[in-house]
C-alpha cells in the first residue's frame, strides 16, 4: 500500500512538469468556441503552409470570455474565435479584443459583417430563415418573419427555444428595425401560433415539420443542409423571407485578436488569411455556411437553395440589443 502512495505522489510531481509552457516565436494560441471539427482543417492547412504551430482549446463562448478576462495580461491566447455576433460584440465590450487595422480584412469582409471598431471580423455567414413543409404549404403563402404571427398560421408554427442565441439575435435585429412595440406584437403572435412546445434544436424542429406536427418554422440554413444531406427526400424546403423589405436575417461566426496577444503580428496575419478565398472555402464548406468574403462562391449544394437579399444592418446590433430581446421574449411567454 505504501508503495502505491509513494508512486502516486511521484506521479503528481511528474504531472507538474506539464505546466511549464514554452513560448515559441512561430506559434499561435487560439481559444475557439467554434468546434474542433470546424476549425481543425483551417489550422492544419495554415500550419502546413506557413510552419506556424497552432495550439487551441475549445469551449462555449461564455466560459472562454470569462477566462480571457480573468487571465488578463497573462493570457496565452492570441486569437478568440466564436460563433454569433452577440458573443463577438460582448467580447469587444468586455475589452478582451484589440482593434486591427488591416486593408486586407477591410477589403475582404463586408462592413456590416464586422465590428465598426475593427475588433472582430465575421468570417462565415449563416442565414436564419423560414423552413416549410412541401406537402402542406405553398411557398406563395409565405412572405416575412412578421407574417408568421398572423392568425392563418395558428397551430401550424414550430419554433426553437428562445434560450438559443440565434433566436435572440433574430429578435434583437427585429427590434432594431421595427422597434420594441411592433416586435413584441410579432413575438406574441408567434407564441400564439405554436403547434407544440418549443424545440431544443433546429433539427428536431424540421423533423417535426416532416412528421406533420407543424407546417412552418425558423432555422439556420446549415442545419437544413445537414438534414437534407442525410435524408434527400426530406419533405421540407427553405424560403427566403423579407425580400421586399429588410432581407434575410444573417448571423456570423468570427474572430478577433486578443488584447494581450503575445504573437500579435502572426495573429493578424492568420486572421487576414482566414478572410482569403482558400480559407473562406474551407470555413464555409465545412459547415455548409455562406462565405463572408463575397468573392468566394458557396458550396454547390448551398448555392442551389438560391441567392437572396440579406439584411445589411450591422450584425453588432444583435449584441447591443440582445438582453432587451431576451426580456421581451420572457414577457411574451416565448420559452
Amino acid at each position: 500500500m505504501k508503495v502505491w502512495v509513494t508512486s502516486f505522489f511521484a506521479l503528481l510531481v511528474w504531472l507538474t512538469s506539464f505546466s511549464v509552457t514554452a513560448h515559441a516565436a512561430d506559434e499561435l494560441v487560439v481559444y475557439s468556441a467554434r468546434n474542433e471539427q470546424l476549425v481543425r482543417e483551417l489550422f492544419d492547412t495554415y500550419s502546413k503552409d506557413t510552419g506556424t504551430r497552432i495550439r487551441f482549446i475549445t469551449d462555449k463562448a461564455g466560459p472562454l470570455m470569462q477566462r480571457l478576462k480573468a487571465e488578463g495580461a497573462n493570457t496565452p491566447a492570441d486569437l478568440l474565435i466564436t460563433v454569433d455576433a452577440g458573443n463577438l460584440w460582448r467580447a469587444a465590450e468586455e475589452g478582451v479584443l484589440q482593434p486591427v487595422d488591416s486593408a486586407v480584412l477591410s477589403k475582404n469582409i463586408p462592413a456590416h459583417l464586422r465590428d465598426p471598431g475593427n475588433r472582430w471580423f465575421g468570417l462565415s455567414v449563416r442565414a436564419r430563415t423560414i423552413v416549410y413543409s412541401t406537402t402542406r404549404v405553398k411557398p406563395e403563402e409565405l412572405s416575412t418573419y412578421e407574417d408568421l404571427a398572423s392568425a392563418r398560421w395558428k397551430n401550424r408554427l414550430c419554433l426553437r427555444t428562445s434560450k438559443k442565441v440565434y433566436n435572440q439575435s433574430l429578435v434583437a435585429t427585429m427590434m432594431a428595425r421595427l422597434g420594441e412595440k411592433k416586435t413584441d406584437e410579432v413575438v406574441r403572435g408567434w407564441v400564439a401560433n405554436l403547434a407544440t412546445d418549443v424545440f431544443s434544436n433546429d433539427t428536431s424542429l424540421m423533423k417535426a415539420i416532416e412528421a406533420g406536427q407543424c407546417d412552418v418554422g425558423i432555422v439556420n440554413t446549415y442545419y437544413y443542409g445537414r438534414l437534407k444531406n442525410k435524408q434527400p427526400d426530406l419533405a421540407a424546403a427553405l424560403f427566403w423571407p423579407n425580400q421586399k423589405t429588410s432581407g434575410v436575417h444573417v448571423n456570423v461566426s468570427g474572430a478577433g485578436v486578443t488584447r494581450y496577444a503575445k504573437h500579435r503580428d502572426s495573429a493578424v496575419k492568420f486572421l487576414e488569411w482566414l478572410s482569403t478565398p482558400p480559407a473562406q472555402k474551407i470555413l464555409a464548406e465545412s459547415n455548409m455556411e455562406y462565405p463572408a468574403n463575397p468573392q468566394v462562391k458557396p458550396h454547390p449544394m448551398v448555392a442551389a437553395w438560391g441567392s437572396f437579399k440579406q439584411d445589411t444592418l450591422n450584425v453588432s446590433n444583435a449584441g447591443k440589443l440582445q438582453s432587451s430581446a431576451v426580456m421581451l421574449m420572457d414577457r411574451a411567454g416565448y420559452r
Binding site: 500500500m1 502516486f8 506521479l11 503528481l12 504531472l15 507538474t16 506539464f18 505546466s19 509552457t21 494560441v29 468546434n35 474542433e36 471539427q37 470546424l38 495550439r55 487551441f56 482549446i57 475549445t58 469551449d59 462555449k60 461564455g62 466560459p63 472562454l64 470569462q66 477566462r67 480573468a70 487571465e71 497573462n74 496565452p76 460582448r90 465590450e93 427555444t161 434560450k163 442565441v165 435572440q168 407544440t196 412546445d197 418549443v198 424545440f199 431544443s200 434544436n201 433546429d202 433539427t203 428536431s204 423533423k207 417535426a208 416532416e210 412528421a211 406533420g212 406536427q213 442545419y223 442525410k230 459547415n287 440582445q322 438582453s323 431576451v326 426580456m327 420572457d330 414577457r331 420559452r335
Partner: protein, 557 residues
C-alpha cells in the same frame, strides 16, 4: 492518559476523541487546507453579492422565476422519490434476495452510471417524441389520431432523471446492506418480525446515512443539470442561472442565483442531519455468509422483471441507440486520436478518483479525531459545490487558479525577478484539482457514511494500545473503510469521465477527452455523430464498474 480515557467515556458519540493528542493540529491544518481549496470557488460564487445589483433580478422575478421554482420543486420531489424507490428497492433485491439473474443484475444495475443524463434524455426524446420512430409507427398502424403521452413533459423528465441518477442510491444502499449482513435481520426475525417488517424497521433505518448520501448526490446532480432539462425544454432554476449569464451577460446575477441554490441545498442537508439526531449507525458483529431469501414463483419473476426493465430503459436502449448511430454515421470519425481520448479519459479519471477519495478520507477522519464546529462547517461548505451548475463552478475554479497564479507571479517577480505568466492555469495539476473540488461531495458521502458504521470502540481500542493517529487511520480505519472508499473512488472516476464544463475550460492544450469530444459534436446539435465518443465513454466506464464489482465480491462473498 487517564483523563483522556474518562473524557472519552463521557463523550461516546464523538468517536475517538483524544483531543489533546500530539499531532492533531497537523491533521486539522491538512484538512482545513483541503477544505479551503475546495471551498474557494464556492466563496467566489457567493462573493457576487458584493457587486452591484442589476436589472436582471427584477426582470427574472417578475417573469420566469415563479414558474422555474415550481418546476424545480416538482423535479426534486419526483426524482427524489424515484431514486429512493428504484435505488433502495433494487439494492435490497440484489443483496438480500435470490432470484433468476441476480448475479448479473448485481453489477449490471450500476452500469447506467456511465451514461450521462443528457445522453439518456436525448435518446429517449428522439425515440418517443412525435417525430420519433415509436409514435411514427403508431400513427402508421392506427392513423393520425393515435394517442401517446407527451414525452417532453414533467413526467418524462422525472422518469429520465430517475433512470439516470438511481445508481447513486443503489450503490450506496448496497454497500450499507452488505455491511449490515444477515445477522441483524435474523435478530429481527427471532423477535418475531416478518421479512417486510424487519426490512422496514431494521435494515432501512440502519442504512439511512448511506441512502441519504445517495439521494443527496442524485438531487444535487438534478439541481445542477442543464443538459437534460434543456432537451426536455423543462425550465428549472438552472435555466435562470444560464439565462442571466448567456442571455443578459450578467455573470454576477448568475452567481447570485447560483448561491441561492447552494443555500437551499445547505439547509436541506442540515435538516436531514438534524432529523437523524444522535442516532449511531455502527455495526457490531461479524459479517456472515448466510443464504439469501430465496424468491420463487411470481415473486422471483417480478424481481427479475423489475431489474430487467430498469436495466433495459436505463442502459440497453440508450446503448443500442448509440451503437446504431455510431454504425450508421459516426464510424468515419474513428481514428488514432481516439486512443488518446480514451487514455486521457481513463488517466484523468483514475488519478482524480485516487486524489479525491484520499482527500475525503482525510477530511472525514480529522473530523472524527476532533469533532468541532470549524472543521464541520468547512467540510459542509466544501461539499456544496456539487449542486452548482457545472459551468458556474468551472468559472469559480478558474478564477481561483488565476488568482493563485497572480500571487505566485508577484512573489516570483519580487523575490527572483522572473516573469512566469501562468503556472497553474492551463496545467494538468489545475485540472486535477478542479476535479477534486467538483467531486468532493461525491467522495465524501460514501466515505463519511462508511465511517459512521465503524464502531468507535474499535478505534478507541487501537488508541489505548498506543497507536498513533496515522496508524489508526492506516491500519484500522482504512481497511474497514475499503468498501466505502472504493464506492467513492468509483463514483468520482465515472463522474470525471463524464465531466464536461471544467474539463473544457481548464484542460491543457491537447488534453482532449471523450467528454470534450461529445461536446464538439453536440455543440452544433450533431447528436448522431456524438454517438461514437459517447459509446466509447460507456465502454471506458465499464472498467471502473467491473473493477468495483470484482473487488466487492472478493471481499464479501
Amino acid at each position: 492518559m487517564n483523563t483522556s480515557v474518562s473524557q472519552r467515556n463521557t463523550r461516546p458519540e464523538l468517536g475517538i476523541s483524544g483531543s489533546l493528542d500530539v499531532g492533531v493540529w497537523q491533521w486539522r491544518l491538512a484538512s482545513l487546507a483541503i477544505a479551503a481549496i475546495v471551498a474557494a470557488p464556492i466563496l467566489i460564487v457567493f462573493a457576487a453579492w458584493l457587486g452591484p445589483s442589476s436589472e436582471t433580478w427584477p426582470h427574472l422575478a417578475s417573469t420566469v422565476l415563479p414558474g422555474l421554482l415550481r418546476n424545480t420543486f416538482v423535479l426534486i420531489v419526483g426524482v427524489g422519490s424515484g431514486v429512493f424507490i428504484l435505488g433502495v428497492g433494487l439494492a435490497w433485491l440484489t443483496t438480500m434476495c435470490e432470484f433468476p439473474g441476480r448475479r448479473f443484475f448485481e453489477w449490471a444495475l450500476m452500469l447506467p452510471l456511465a451514461i450521462p443524463a443528457y445522453v439518456l434524455a436525448f435518446v429517449m426524446v428522439g425515440l418517443l417524441d412525435y417525430s420519433g420512430p415509436v409514435q411514427g409507427g403508431l400513427r402508421e398502424m392506427f392513423g393520425s389520431s393515435a394517442w401517446f403521452p407527451s414525452v417532453r413533459s414533467e413526467g418524462g423528465v422525472v422518469i429520465v432523471m430517475t433512470l439516470a441518477f438511481y445508481p447513486y442510491v443503489y450503490m450506496l444502499a448496497r454497500t450499507a446492506f452488505i455491511g449490515q449482513g444477515r445477522n441483524v435481520l435474523d435478530t429481527g426475525r427471532v423477535l418475531g418480525l416478518s421479512p417486510w417488517a424487519s426490512f422496514l424497521r431494521i435494515s432501512l433505518p440502519m442504512a439511512r446515512p448511506a441512502i441519504a448520501a445517495g439521494i443527496a448526490l442524485a438531487l444535487m446532480e438534478t439541481l445542477a443539470d442543464f443538459g437534460a432539462v434543456s432537451i426536455f425544454n423543462y425550465d428549472t432554476f438552472t435555466i435562470a442561472i444560464y439565462k442571466a449569464w448567456f442571455g443578459f451577460f450578467d455573470l454576477a446575477a448568475a452567481a447570485q442565483l447560483a448561491s441561492l441554490l447552494l443555500l437551499f441545498v445547505a439547509v436541506a442537508l442540515v435538516v436531514e442531519k438534524q432529523m437523524r439526531g444522535r442516532a449511531r449507525y455502527d455495526v457490531t458483529g461479524k459479517l456472515t455468509n448466510e443464504p439469501r431469501f430465496h424468491l420463487s414463483g411470481w415473486r422471483a419473476a417480478g424481481a427479475s422483471l423489475a431489474a430487467g426493465t430498469v436495466m433495459m430503459l436505463a442502459f440497453v436502449v440508450p446503448v443500442a441507440r448509440l451503437a446504431l448511430w455510431a454504425w450508421e454515421s459516426a464510424l468515419s470519425d474513428l481514428d488514432s486520436r481516439y486512443f488518446r481520448f480514451f487514455f486521457n479519459t481513463l488517466f484523468l479519471g483514475a488519478v482524480a478518483a485516487g486524489l479525491t477519495a484520499f482527500a475525503a478520507v482525510l477530511l472525514a477522519y480529522t473530523y472524527r479525531l476532533r469533532p468541532e464546529r470549524l472543521t464541520r462547517a468547512a467540510i459542509r461548505f466544501a461539499t456544496l459545490g456539487y449542486a452548482l451548475p457545472g459551468s458556474v463552478l468551472a468559472v469559480g475554479i478558474m478564477l481561483s487558479f488565476v488568482w493563485l497564479d497572480q500571487q505566485i507571479n508577484s512573489v516570483a517577480m519580487s523575490v527572483f525577478n522572473v516573469k512566469l505568466a501562468q503556472v497553474l492555469t492551463g496545467s494538468l495539476v489545475a485540472l486535477l484539482l478542479a476535479y477534486v473540488v467538483r467531486f468532493m461531495a461525491v467522495a465524501y458521502g460514501p466515505v463519511d457514511s462508511a465511517f459512521e458504521r465503524i464502531k468507535p470502540s474499535l478505534l478507541q481500542a487501537a488508541r489505548s494500545l498506543g497507536a498513533s493517529n496515522w496508524q489508526i487511520l492506516w491500519r484500522v480505519s482504512i481497511p474497514m473503510l475499503r468498501a466505502g472508499m472504493f464506492s467513492a473512488a468509483l463514483l468520482v472516476f465515472v463522474e470525471v469521465m463524464k465531466e464536461m464544463p471544467a474539463t473544457l475550460l481548464l484542460r491543457p492544450f491537447g488534453w482532449d477527452t471523450l467528454a470534450t469530444r461529445i461536446f464538439e459534436m453536440t455543440a452544433e446539435g450533431e447528436w448522431e455523430r456524438a454517438a461514437l465518443p459517447a459509446l466509447t465513454l460507456v465502454l471506458a466506464g465499464l472498467i471502473p464498474v467491473v473493477m468495483l464489482v470484482r473487488r466487492a465480491n472478493k471481499r464479501w462473498t
